[in-house]
Amino acid sequence: MKKYILPLVFAAFFFSSCEEIPPTVTGSMVMDDDEPNPVEDQKRQVLIEEFTGVRCVNCPAGSAKIEDLLGSHGEQLVAVSIHAGEFSPPYPASQYDFRTDDGDQLLSYLGEPFGYPTAVVNRKLFSGQFDLQLGSDDWAGFIATEKEIAPKVRIDIVPNFDAVTRNLTVDVALYVDEAISEPDVHLSLMLTESGIQDLQLTPASSTPQSDYTHKHVLRET
């Protein structure tokens, strides 16, 4: 029996710490208040840039997840859907081509994802991650982490749209709360459009859904 003592010791070692205190899971906590906050009270805004395409069968699941996250985080989360990459060419019957040169450049700049759905959160390489592009299971966690950081700059955006001339004027005021050491800081404005009904491939059918509602589609930067 002596020869079995050592393996038994090993087995005991493995089983010894089976009891653990798990984290609490609550399920969704939807925010009721999504009224815009004045800039003085502005908290950190988190940007999620979703890369998608009308031929991407799994992307609607990612987009639905973003809708849930917008529901949970309210104004603190800003979503942009960028149609770029291998699944983004429109169908012959598509009404719109959602691709933009800026979107292609952003994909090239931020890196090709391993798979879809995919998104980049605050263009940040997070601890434990090896790519800027994140699978949809990692979005919620990193958004929650980013939200807690105090903003360095508060941004007040006031858009003015003239329906007659169809001119959009945007006034942006920056309130710098912290000294910024980076020598090269840019301000980008992104124009997105929601509520566009057009073709989108979904897991429900081999033919694309014609009345799929596309949200926060990047149109211009």
């Binding site: 493995f14 205190i21 609490t24 399920g27 798979g115 990193f142 081999s206």
Partner: protein
């Protein structure tokens, strides 16, 4: 960056200093006391854009034009130590992510190993396996950029001549970094019987545990908190009393090989404690009310049973295998997908096809649910003629067909002048599951093939290969890319040269074949390939012009979708 280099460099410096010093003294002594060996693999890809086949819109085709990978492995043995270091380089490489570009360079592996009487210790990047790998396999598969080395320490101890126990702990490698989750494991392997025994047993038992890191758990909880409460209650019924996702997951495995005369019977049964894993074919309703299909978390325990019975006697060989998998996705963190972060390896239940068209539809191992069996038989009628056949069948746990293959082969050898290999393969391949194509009808193929080798003299030979794949239709349209024809001619001038010319032609295009913009018709595209191989002793060089259709690339049931390729490939392989 510096710390990750210092130890390997120190090891290498030590090793080389010894060799140099000994060289100066006496070369013979060097051979007797220390041994330096190694190998080099170098791949270079020149990318030539071809939008017609989909070889476009990646950084390599758009602007980088060239990518390379290299691995230089050096092993040194001396003073009872084994040590090694591997230099890895990826330059604008599409190996890690076929659609992306990856550039990094550094020490991909180092290790030091020492045997002290019955105790063996290894530290560094360790490759190892428990049983057939169902609960743990740390291995490298370069064509898929898989390198699941365990970065840690391992101890082995010989209890007797026939019984060995081992234990290890560490973290899984991820390129030049490691995942944060901690792994630990142990196994005992034995042998009962002797060389003269008619019946022998090789039993074993292993256990592996993974402790999820805080970052991964935080992300997991945050994601679960976007689920509806009803889904959470389904996953954690006792959530009010503190039930939640487990940090620690334990996987156990019993295995044994019994040999009795011409029979060999392997059986392995494994189970895994409850953990949150991702079901890639799940469905759930979001808080916003949308129903989403695709990856969703489940909280379940898992099991695998795998068995293989083989018989071999007098030219007859038969192997019967069976496997049942349920919720056995074991990863370093549940967020990882595809080939990434896998701690284990489940043996595939299909034959490994090598002919181009026969290998086009490969069945990736399904971790959530798979029921499979395979029969493989071969019979050598005489020295000239042998026959073989294979049948494999894979369903999910609900009985839905995932894969079926019938394969036959006749091999005939006429003196030393020529050989003929021919047969037919029938496949039934679930495109919905393996290619993720919604509502796609299964690809049912019939593929006859011929391989003829003619030797002009002992050094000069020509080999001709031909295959034709006939694809089933659904609603009047051929599935996937439709019918293919493939031809290859290989001229060998032993021992140095081999030249290969081949073409894969989409003779009757299918649903996924691209449309010619000018004619509006499906395009019949050629995918030619030209290879030159030169071998000199332990060095092998290759230069190839390749146009390759998009498809699945697999290694042992671990697969990924591979986009089309157009360009020139070169490689150097050397061992020393």
């Amino acid at each position: 960056m510096i710390p990750r280099f210092w130890l390997p460099l120190l090891l290498l410096t030590l090793g080389l200093q010894t060799v140099t010093a000994q060289d100066a003294e006496n070369e013979q002594t060097t051979t007797n006391q220390g041994r330096l060996s190694g190998n080099l693999q170098l791949n270079g890809n020149f990318f030539m854009r071809d939008s017609s086949i989909g070889a476009a819109n990646t950084p390599q085709y758009d602007r980088q034009l060239f990518g390379a990978e290299s691995w230089l492995n050096l092993n040194y043995q001396n003073w009872g130590f084994d040590m090694g270091i591997r230099f890895d380089m990826f330059n604008n490489s599409n190996l890690l992510n076929p659609n992306g570009s990856y550039t990094d360079i550094g020490v991909g592996r180092w290790y030091v190993s020492r045997k002290i009487n019955k105790l063996g210790i290894t530290a560094g990047y360790i490759y190892d396996i428990i049983g057939s790998g169902i609960i743990f396999r740390a291995y490298e598969e370069r064509p898929l950029a898989i390198d699941q080395a365990l970065y840690g320490i391992r101890a082995t101890y010989d209890l007797t001549d026939n019984w060995t126990v081992k234990a290890f702990t560490g973290r899984q490698k991820q390129q030049f970094d490691t995942y944060a989750s901690v792994l630990r494991g142990a196994a005992i392997d034995g042998f009962v019987g002797s060389d003269s025994s008619k019946v022998t047993l090789a039993p074993g038992f292993g256990v592996v545990a993974r402790t999820l890191d805080d970052g991964s758990m935080n992300n997991l909880v945050a994601d679960l908190n976007t689920y509806r409460k009803v889904d959470i209650l389904q996953m954690f019924p006792d959530t009010l009393n503190g039930e939640g996702p487990n940090y620690n997951t334990y996987a156990f495995s019993f295995y044994n090989t019994l040999t009795a005369g011409p029979f060999a019977w392997y059986i392995e049964t494994a189970m895994k404690t409850k953990e949150v894993i991702a079901d890639p074919f799940g469905e759930r309703v979001t808080v916003s009310g949308d129903t989403i299909s695709g990856k969703r978390y489940i909280n379940k325990s898992g099991s695998v049973i795998y068995t293989s019975l083989s018989f071999a006697k007098q030219g007859l060989g038969i192997t019967v295998e069976g496997k049942r998998t349920e919720n056995f996705d074991f990863r370093t963190r549940p967020q990882e997908e595809g080939v990434r972060g896998l701690i284990h390896y489940i043996p595939p239940m299909t034959r490994v096809n090598t002919y181009r068209l026969l290998a086009r539809y490969a069945a990736a191992t399904q971790f959530i649910g798979e029921q499979a069996f395979q029969v493989d038989a071969s019979y050598a009628v005489n020295k000239k003629l042998s026959l073989s056949a294979n049948f494999s069948n894979i369903t999910n746990l609900d009985g839905d067909q995932l894969y079926r293959e019938i394969f036959t082969e006749i091999y005939y050898k006429y003196k030393r002048k020529w050989t003929l290999t021919t047969g037919v393969q029938l496949q039934d391949y679930n495109l919905e599951v393996y290619f993720g194509k919604p509502e796609a009808a299964p690809a049912k193929t019939v593929t006859p093939y011929v391989d003829f080798l003619y030797k002009f003299n002992p050094k000069t030979s020509i080999r001709l290969e031909s295959q034709y794949m006939s694809m089933s239709k659904s609603h009047g349209v051929r599935s996937d890319y439709g019918n293919w024809v493939f031809g290859l001619a290989e001229f060998t001038l032993a021992p140095h040269w081999a030249i290969t010319v081949s073409d894969m032609y989409n003779i009757n295009p299918g649903k996924e074949s691209p449309i010619d913009v000018e004619t509006g018709e499906k395009e019949k595209i050629h995918f030619p390939r030209f290879d030159v191989y030169y071998t000199h002793k332990a060095n092998r060089f290759s230069l190839s012009y390749v146009k390759q259709v998009q498809g699945v690339v697999c290694s042992g049931g671990i697969c990924r979708l591979e986009p089309a390729f157009s360009g020139v490939k070169m490689s150097v392989n050397s061992t020393f």
